[in-house]
């Protein structure tokens, strides 16, 4: 099941929260949705899950629009950033509810997972800790066997062990059943580890959408030591998008082909240079900085 988002628009009280986003994600992959606070990620996720009706454009799973489509929604599971359960329910009664809602529900999976995570299925969910509630949400989601799993800040409150287990189960479903996962998170280190592709949104707009390997192959950090600092034309020539100078050492971020970059640098006779891959966090900071969302220093009173 592939996802196609076409020219998706959503406005709240006249303000565009999702602005003409177009992207596609393939089944059996994990897509990371990155963005600044208030960028519209949660709104976008709710559009993907068919909770919100698009103002314009559409969200299509295997060519079929999700909004108002019961059949499609039965295969798409959305886990919001705040676990929610029906009032007064236990994990078992929630399981019965899910069983009646999701045709691909597996009771065997539910029992196995509940046991694995050590959850008391008879305990009211309202009495559980935040992390336990999160685990319960994942148990219910995995037992529903969705083809698409939409996760909004999913690992908040989970300890590293459970976090790892949850991710492992997710990987199994991806590998064995071709499940598509779309994760919205601010934990870029974690995203870098598990995502196949990412998209970055800011103020409702999609800044870029790419395979993570491609991003790593086109974004670099250069550290160059010169005997004499190069002229300004160097930065234009090498296509530097951001640079810092400390003494005779220039640190720059460049976008482009690694070989071409190396060719251009050597023309300016550096004493030494190093081309390093950018971390996702650095890419995020750089892309956001380009849109005026940079880290700025402040000395408080």
């Amino acid at each position: 099941m592939n996802l196609e988002v076409v020219q998706l628009d959503k406005s709240f009280t006249g303000k565009k929260v999702v602005d003409s986003i177009t992207l596609s994600v393939e089944s059996g992959t994990i897509h990371g949705l990155l963005g600044s606070n208030g960028a519209g990620k949660t709104t976008f996720m709710k559009l993907l899950s068919g909770i919100y009706r698009p103002d314009d454009g559409g969200v299509y799973f295997s060519g079929v629009p999700i909004y108002g489509n019961t059949e499609m929604k039965s295969q798409v599971m959305f886990i919001s950033d705040h676990p929610y359960f029906l009032n007064g329910k236990t994990l078992l009664s929630m399981a019965e509810f899910y069983k009646a809602m999701y045709p691909r529900w597996s009771s065997a999976r539910f029992n196995q997972l509940a046991h694995h995570f050590g959850l008391d299925i008879h305990q009211p969910l309202s009495q559980l800790s935040k992390g336990m509630k999160r685990q319960a949400t994942f148990v219910l989601a995995y037992a529903s066997r969705p083809k698409v799993l939409l996760l909004d800040e999913p690992f908040d409150g989970l300890d590293p062990i459970i976090r790892r287990q949850v991710k492992d189960i997710m990987m199994q479903d991806i590998a064995n059943h071709g499940m598509m996962v779309i994760i919205s998170s601010h934990n870029l280190r974690e995203m870098e580890d598990i995502c196949d592709s990412i998209s970055m949104v800011h103020k409702g707009k999609l800044l870029f959408h790419s395979n993570l390997d491609e991003v790593r192959g086109t974004h670099f950090k250069l550290q160059i030591a010169f005997d004499v600092l190069p002229p300004e034309s160097f930065f234009k020539d090498v296509d530097v998008v951001h640079h810092e100078i400390k003494g005779r050492v220039v640190t720059c971020i460049v976008k482009g082909d690694r070989y071409d970059i190396e060719q251009k640098i050597t023309k300016y006779s550096p004493l030494m240079y190093d081309i390093l891959p950018l971390s996702l966090e650095e890419i995020f900071a750089y892309e956001m900085g380009e849109r005026g969302y940079a880290i700025s220093d402040i000395i408080i009173e």
Binding site: K10, F12, T43, K46, S49, G50, I51, Y52, R53, G68, T70, E71, M72, K73, S74, M77, F78, S80, H82, Y84, L86, N87, E96, F97, K99, A100, M101, Y102, P103
Partner: protein
Amino acid sequence: MRSATSLLNRTLLLHFTGSVFWLSILFLIGNILLQPLALWIASINVRINDGYVPSGNPLDMMAGFQLVFGMVYVMFLAAFLFGYKNKEQSIDFMHALPMKRHYLLSHALLSGFINILIPIITTSIILFFERHFLVFDISFIDIIAWGAYSVFVLVTVFSVSVFCGFLVNNILVHLQLILIVFFLPVIFWTLTVAVADALFEGVGIIPFTGNGESLISGIVDNTFPIFAVQQIYSGFVFWKILMWSLFTVFLFIGSYILYGRNQNEKVHHTFNQSWLRNILVAFLSISGMLLVGLIISVTLPNGLLIFILSFLFGTAFAYIAIEMSFQGTVRLERNIKSLVTTAALLILFWTVFITGWNQYVAYVPEESEIDSVRITNSSSSSYGSNGNINGEMGEDYLYIDDGEIIAEAVQAHEEATAAPALKDISQGYEWVEVSYRMKNGNYINRRFDDHKREPYKEILGKVNSGKYARNNDVLFNVGDPSKLLRVEISAPGGAVTIEEASPFIEEYQRAMLGVDEDIPANILNGGVPLLNGVAEFEQSYYSGQASIYNPVLQKAIKGEEELAGFLGVEGSEEMYTLTLGEVDRQKFFQDYQMLTPKKFINKYELKVLSDNQMAEVVKAVDEGKLDGRGQKVLVYRSVVEDWADAEEITLSMDQEFNILGIE
């Protein structure tokens, strides 16, 4: 479990039903307390006290309370069933489920119906078995009718409550909106009319004595909770029930449409439609303005400044209070659109109010279109009878179709409307009411305060004449004597109750056709009425004039008391008799109502009767020697003159003395 084709998801239905389970248990217990238990207690009381078993349907005794309780329950039922849509997490969860909104709504509605039906059916079953142990006679059909009507009422309230829920996203505002939808129209209109009544001459909210609808009855009778309870006591109007049923269907369809169009993302807004919110704020503010303004301007009646200020304060107070309620905080955010809407509707309201009520009070009907007229005042002995409230009296009761009286009434009305329309409350609380029965069957009622009474003074004297005794006779005008419970006759010296009312009234009415009188009835101008008759029905009673010249009435009184004592003749300390002879009878009776006792006695050179003469008069009266059109009249001081302080008020002759035609 759900299949692809199943219409019903049992789990979802159980979820909704379970979410209001305890609420429905509460309703069931309340229902049992208000019907089966209340009937049981009433039955025991009747048995223990060997008391009176009330006629009519025993289920009606508590049905009003039970319905009100049920309506409150249904409001909460709808609010809690659809409570999920008031929180972001819950509405997101529900709308992420693989089901269409109409499917969700259908299950919630079905759950609502179940939670209405089961308590009613359970109560009906208890009543079915209980009835055999009660002193009351409750038929199976009565229980079915009670249950069916309860379900109709509760489902109608449920439809309104559900519909309102899709307009708002907050449970408290939801509950408020249900009350607003039901009661804002009637409150708004009643306050509008009340303010008009306080400000304009000619406006009377409820006709005190005239027939026809009150200015608010149309909206009061069609306010559903009031209508629902009224139906129990005044009988079912099936076309209205049908209309409300259609309205209910319309609202359920509307709920599906609204829910289908509702936007999840508005969950943080109190109202889904801001224009609706702003209009409600405006109407509630205007209602508050009218209420506060009415209280202050009535309490402090003098001064235009106070009048204007009171309405301004009322508006500000109501606006702030309503915004706090709708915003759910006391720290208000400025809402320019709401402020502008309120200001605009305020200007529109006052424009329509002043123009409309000016036109209303200036209108005088065409003489040619008037069938008959009723003119009365605050001193009328028919005061409080509210005309022919439930249609139990004949059509002509209190109305005079004499062309001369109609022409004079129209002229007096025109004179009254020529004066300024704004009321001066300092003039007091006396009034003159004119009620026209038009040839098309409609009624036009106007009420003027005391200072407008002058044009009506002469005409009031005329209609007070015995000539119109039959029109004013409360007993003669009883429409269906078989529905009467009892008749009471009171006079200055006694009171008689006639339990066998129906045959008495039939005889009285036959005899009245042969009675001729022109003695003033003393029913107007503050005179002490000689006789006051009360016709009591199950739901209402009528008070007014009765004729002492009717032999059937004389016979009934004689069966209980001496006539002279009853009429207050015996015991009166001052009596005069006069043979009218050449005296202008009409002028004489007019003077009787207008002149002070001293002037009247001097003008007609009346000689006070000696003790012997008084004794003879008493004997003659006891023997029933009365004649409503006789040549001789007896004028005697009333034994109940203490109602007015003679030192402060100059009383007219008719206010201190009764008059009686004697042979």
